[in-house]
C-alpha cells in the first residue's frame, strides 16, 4: 500500500487550473459549433441544412428569400458542416459553452425579405429559485446524475470529472447516490419513455431548492433521436432546466462550466452566432 502512496505523491499535481484561469491547449477539445453568418451565402445556407443529420441546421425558402435556423443544442458535432463550410461553421475549442437559456444556443438568419434579428442580451436574468439556490450552494454542492437514455458517452465524461485532470471535488462539487441529499439534478440522454417515470420520481425526491442541468445534445434537444417513437424528451419539456451544456458528449470541462454557471460562479461565454471571442 505504501507504494501506491509513493506513486501518488511522485505523480505530482496534474489538475487543470480551470476555471480560475483559461484552459490550456492540452485541455481544449471540440465543445460546440459556432456559426459566422458572414461566411455563408443563401445558396450555401440551404446546402448546409441538407448536410446536417440532426435538426441543428434547418432552412426554408429559396435563394431569393428564405430563413436558416441554427441550433447548437441539437448539434452532435459530426463535422459535416465544419468540413464543407469552414468559413461559416467552426468548432469552438473553449469548453466554456454552457448557457442558461435555450435561446442562447439558437440563431436565425433571414435573407431577402427580412434582416438578421438582433442578438439576444448576453446576461440571462436568474430566477428567484436560482438566486436562492446560488446563495445556498455557493460552497458545496451535491449532484444526482440520472441517465435518462444516453449512449454512455456522457457517463464516460462524467466519470472523467472525478479523474485528476478535472477533479470536481476541489470546487466543492460531489456526486451523491441519493436524491434526498442532492442539490442538482444532472440529466443525460434523450429521456426515453421507459425512463420518464424514474426521472420524475428522482426529481420529486429531491429537496427544495433544486437545480436541473441538461448535459449533452440528447438531453437538450434529443439530438439524433428527435421525433423517435421511444423518445419522451427533450428534458425541458418535462422539467424546468437551469443550464444547458451542449456537446455530444459534452467534455468534462464543459460540464464543470455548466455546474458553475448554474451556481452563479461562472458566466456565459458562448453564443451560437457570436463572432470569434477574445480567446481564453
Amino acid at each position: 500500500m505504501s507504494r501506491w502512496i509513493a506513486k501518488g505523491l511522485a505523480t505530482g499535481l496534474r489538475t487543470t487550473r480551470f476555471p480560475d484561469s483559461g484552459v490550456s491547449g492540452e485541455e481544449q477539445a471540440p465543445s460546440a459549433v459556432r456559426l459566422r453568418w458572414q461566411g455563408l451565402s443563401p445558396g450555401q445556407a440551404l446546402q448546409a441544412a441538407s448536410l446536417c443529420p440532426t435538426a441543428a441546421i434547418e432552412a426554408s425558402g429559396t435563394e431569393e428569400a428564405g430563413e436558416l435556423r441554427f441550433d447548437a443544442g441539437a448539434c452532435i458535432l459530426c463535422g459535416r458542416c465544419t468540413r464543407q463550410f469552414p468559413q461559416a461553421f467552426t468548432r469552438v475549442a473553449d469548453p466554456r459553452v454552457a448557457v442558461q437559456s435555450r435561446d442562447h444556443l439558437r440563431s436565425t438568419l433571414r435573407w431577402g425579405a427580412g434582416q438578421k434579428p438582433a442578438p439576444a442580451s448576453l446576461s440571462a436574468a436568474a430566477s428567484a429559485v436560482q438566486l436562492a439556490a446560488q446563495h445556498l450552494f455557493r460552497r458545496s454542492l451535491h449532484i444526482r446524475h440520472v441517465d435518462a437514455g444516453s449512449c454512455n458517452g456522457c457517463e464516460s465524461e462524467l466519470q472523467m470529472l472525478s479523474a485528476p485532470y478535472a477533479d470536481l471535488h476541489r470546487l466543492g462539487l460531489f456526486f451523491t447516490p441519493t436524491p434526498r441529499h442532492a442539490d442538482v439534478l444532472l440529466v443525460t440522454g434523450v429521456v426515453t419513455r421507459n425512463m420518464e417515470e424514474p426521472l420524475r420520481e428522482t426529481y420529486q425526491a429531491m429537496p427544495q431548492p433544486k437545480l436541473v442541468i441538461a448535459a449533452g445534445a440528447c438531453a437538450i434537444s434529443c439530438g439524433s433521436f428527435a421525433g423517435g417513437p421511444m423518445t419522451a424528451g427533450p428534458l425541458d419539456r418535462l422539467l424546468q432546466v437551469d443550464a444547458y451544456v451542449p456537446g455530444c458528449p459534452p467534455t468534462p470541462q464543459a460540464i464543470l462550466h455548466g455546474l458553475l454557471l448554474a451556481l452563479g460562479r461562472a458566466t456565459e461565454r458562448y453564443r451560437a452566432d457570436q463572432e470569434e471571442s477574445g480567446g481564453a
Binding site: 440520472v146 441517465d147 458517452g153 472523467m160 472525478s162 426515453t192 433521436f225 423517435g228
Partner: protein, 515 residues
C-alpha cells in the same frame, strides 16, 4: 480443396451462394430451419439470429454462423409463411434472448420457447411490436420501479435488495433485484431496456451516410468499433473498396478506442476495490487517450471520422509522430501500474474466484470479447475474420480459462499490451498513398459487417435499396450476448459486496444492449 463452410453446407444439404470471399448465404424452408441450425451449431457457432419484417412481405429469419477455421461467415435464412416459428432455444440455449427479442420487436412467436418474457418493453401494452412500425400514443407509460421485477427465488430468510434504475454515481440506468440470505447473493433478477431508443427503427428509410451518425450513438464507448462494423456492412453490400491508408487509420483508431476502454475498465476495478491512487492513475491514462483521439479526429470519442468508402480525416505525419511518443509513455506507465496492481493483495484477493464463469458455461453461451477470452474462448474477429489492416500486423489473442474477475483483469491488461503493439506496428509502416475520393455508387443489396469492439465482436447486418437508403439494420453489439450470462455470474457464490467488482470486471454497456 473445399472451404470448411462449403464442406459443412454440403453435409447439411444447403445450397450456398458466396457474396465475396467472406459471406456465404443459404436459404432453406421454414420446416427444416430449426433442425438445420441446431445441426450446424454442433460444429459452428450461432453468432446472431434476427428477423426482418416489412409490410406486404413474408417475415424472414436469418441466422449468422461462424464456422471453425473459415474466415467467412455463413448466413442461413428462411421465409416464414405465418407469424410463428419453431423455437431453437430448447436445443440451443444461447438462442433464448434472440428469440425473445424477435417476439418482442417483431411479434413472431417462437413456439416451444420455455421462458418468454419482455426484454426491453416492461410495462407496455400487449401485442405492441416496435419493429412492425407501430407507434404508441405519447404520454408516460404505467410504470412502477418497485413492483415491476418479481424475484425468482423466495424462502425463509431470503430478502430482496433492489438497485436501480437510477443507481449510485454517474452510471447507466438498469435495474437489479438481488435476492440474498444475508451476505451471499442467491439470485439476481435484472431488468434492462430503460434506455431503449429504437435506434434500428429510426434508421429505416434514412440514407446510409446519415445512419453512420446513429451507429456512432449506439454506444458511446464503443462508438468507433460499432460504426466500423456498420460502415463495413454498407461497403461490402455495395462493393466499395477502402484505400490502405484509410484501412490503417481505421485500425489505429479502433485500437485507440480499446486502449481508453481498457484503461477505464481497470480504473473501475480499482475503484471497486478501494484503490484510490490507482483510480486516479488509470483515470489520467484514459483522459490522455481521449485527448489524443480528440486531437486526431476532432472528437474525443472518435465520432465523425468514418465515412462509406474511407475516412473523413487524415492522420498527418506530425500527428503520428506525436502519438508514437505518447505510446511509449503510456506503455511504460501501464506496465508499472499493472505490476503494482498485481502486487497489491487487497486488489487481487477481491478478484480471485469472484463471479466465475466456467469454460463449459461460456461455450454454451458463446460469450464474446475479453469476458469470453477470460473463460477460455479463444475467439477474436480481428484474427479469425481479419478486416481493415489487421492481417498486416502481428498480435496475440490473450486467453485464460479461470473465468473469474481476476482472469478478466488479466485479459484486459494483456489486451492493452497487444493494442499498444498493434498501434506501434501501424505507425511503423504507414502507407502514405493518394486516397481516391470517389463518392459511393449505390446499389441494392445486403451484407454483414464485423469488428472487434472493446467488449467483443460487433456484428451489423444491413439491407439497402438502390439509392443507398437503409431498409433494415440489425445491430448485434457484444453486450447483447454477454448480458445474458451476467445474472449467472453474480449468483455463483458471491457476496453483495462483490457486486461492484463483478460489474466492473464485465465492463459491459447497457446502451449497447438497450439500443
Amino acid at each position: 480443396m473445399r472451404r470448411p463452410i462449403d464442406r459443412l453446407a454440403l453435409e447439411m444439404d444447403l445450397g450456398v451462394t458466396w457474396q465475396g470471399e467472406e459471406e456465404a448465404c443459404a436459404v432453406c424452408g421454414e420446416e427444416v430451419f430449426r433442425d438445420r441450425i441446431t445441426a450446424l451449431a454442433a460444429s459452428a457457432t450461432l453468432s446472431d439470429l434476427f428477423a426482418t419484417t416489412r409490410s406486404g412481405e413474408e417475415p424472414t429469419l436469418t441466422a449468422v454462423l461462424q464456422v471453425e477455421d473459415d474466415p467467412g461467415w455463413l448466413l442461413v435464412s428462411t421465409k416464414l409463411p405465418g407469424s410463428a416459428f419453431s423455437a431453437l432455444t430448447p436445443q440451443l440455449h444461447l438462442a433464448s434472448w434472440y428469440e425473445r427479442e424477435i417476439l418482442e420487436m417483431h411479434g413472431l412467436m417462437p413456439v416451444g420457447h420455455p421462458g418468454l418474457g419482455p426484454l426491453r418493453l416492461h410495462q407496455w401494452p400487449e401485442n405492441h411490436h416496435p419493429m412492425r412500425g407501430q407507434h404508441l400514443e405519447t404520454g408516460p407509460l404505467p410504470h412502477s420501479a418497485h413492483t415491476a421485477v418479481r424475484p425468482s427465488v423466495s424462502g425463509q430468510g431470503v430478502f430482496q435488495l433492489p438497485l436501480g434504475p437510477v443507481r449510485s454515481g454517474p452510471q447507466e440506468s438498469a435495474e437489479f433485484l438481488f435476492s440474498s440470505g444475508g451476505e451471499d447473493i442467491v439470485e439476481v433478477d435484472l431488468r434492462l431496456g430503460f434506455k431503449y431508443r429504437a435506434i434500428e427503427q429510426l434508421a429505416e428509410g434514412q440514407p446510409a451516410e446519415s445512419v453512420i451518425h446513429l451507429a456512432e450513438r449506439l454506444a458511446g464507448t464503443s462508438s468507433f468499433a460499432n460504426t466500423l462494423a456498420f460502415t463495413r456492412a454498407v461497403e461490402r453490400s455495395i462493393g466499395a473498396t477502402v484505400s490502405p491508408t484509410d484501412q490503417h487509420a481505421r485500425t489505429l483508431l479502433a485500437e485507440l478506442e480499446r486502449l481508453y476502454n481498457h484503461f477505464g475498465m481497470i480504473g473501475r476495478l480499482a475503484e471497486a476495490t478501494g484503490l484510490l491512487v490507482a483510480v486516479a492513475q488509470y483515470g489520467m491514462l484514459k483522459e490522455e487517450v481521449l485527448r489524443a483521439g480528440g486531437r486526431l479526429t476532432g472528437h474525443r470519442y472518435l465520432r465523425g471520422a468514418l465515412r462509406v468508402g474511407g475516412m473523413e480525416i487524415v492522420l498527418s505525419p506530425v500527428d503520428r509522430e506525436r502519438l508514437r511518443a505518447e505510446l511509449a509513455d503510456w506503455s511504460q506507465r501501464a506496465a508499472r501500474l499493472n505490476r503494482l496492481l498485481e502486487q497489491t493483495s487487497t486488489f487481487i484477493d477481491r478478484l480471485d474466484t469472484t463471479a466465475t464463469l466456467l469454460p463449459d458455461y461460456a461455450v454454451e453461451h458463446r460469450l464474446v470479447g475479453p469476458v469470453g477470452r477470460a473463460s477460455g474462448i479463444d475467439r477474436d474477429v480481428r484474427r479469425d475474420h481479419p478486416y481493415a489492416a489487421y492481417s498486416s500486423v502481428e498480435f496475440d489473442v490473450p486467453t485464460v480459462s479461470d473465468g473469474d474477475a481476476e482472469a478478466r483483469f488479466q485479459v484486459h491488461a494483456a489486451e492493452l499490451r497487444q493494442s499498444l503493439r498493434i498501434i506501434r506496428q501501424l505507425l511503423g509502416g504507414w502507407p502514405d498513398q493518394e486516397r481516391p475520393e470517389d463518392p459511393p455508387r449505390w446499389s441494392a443489396g445486403s451484407a454483414l459487417g464485423w469488428a472487434e469492439a472493446p467488449g467483443g465482436e460487433a456484428l451489423h447486418w444491413v439491407e439497402l435499396d438502390q439509392n443507398g437508403r437503409v431498409l433494415r439494420w440489425r445491430a448485434r453489439p457484444p453486450a447483447l450476448v454477454n448480458w445474458h450470462t451476467f445474472a449467472h455470474a453474480c449468483g455463483s457464490g458471491n457476496n453483495l459486496t462483490d457486486y461492484p467488482v463483478i460489474e466492473a470486471s464485465f465492463a459491459i454497456s447497457v446502451a449497447e444492449f438497450d439500443r
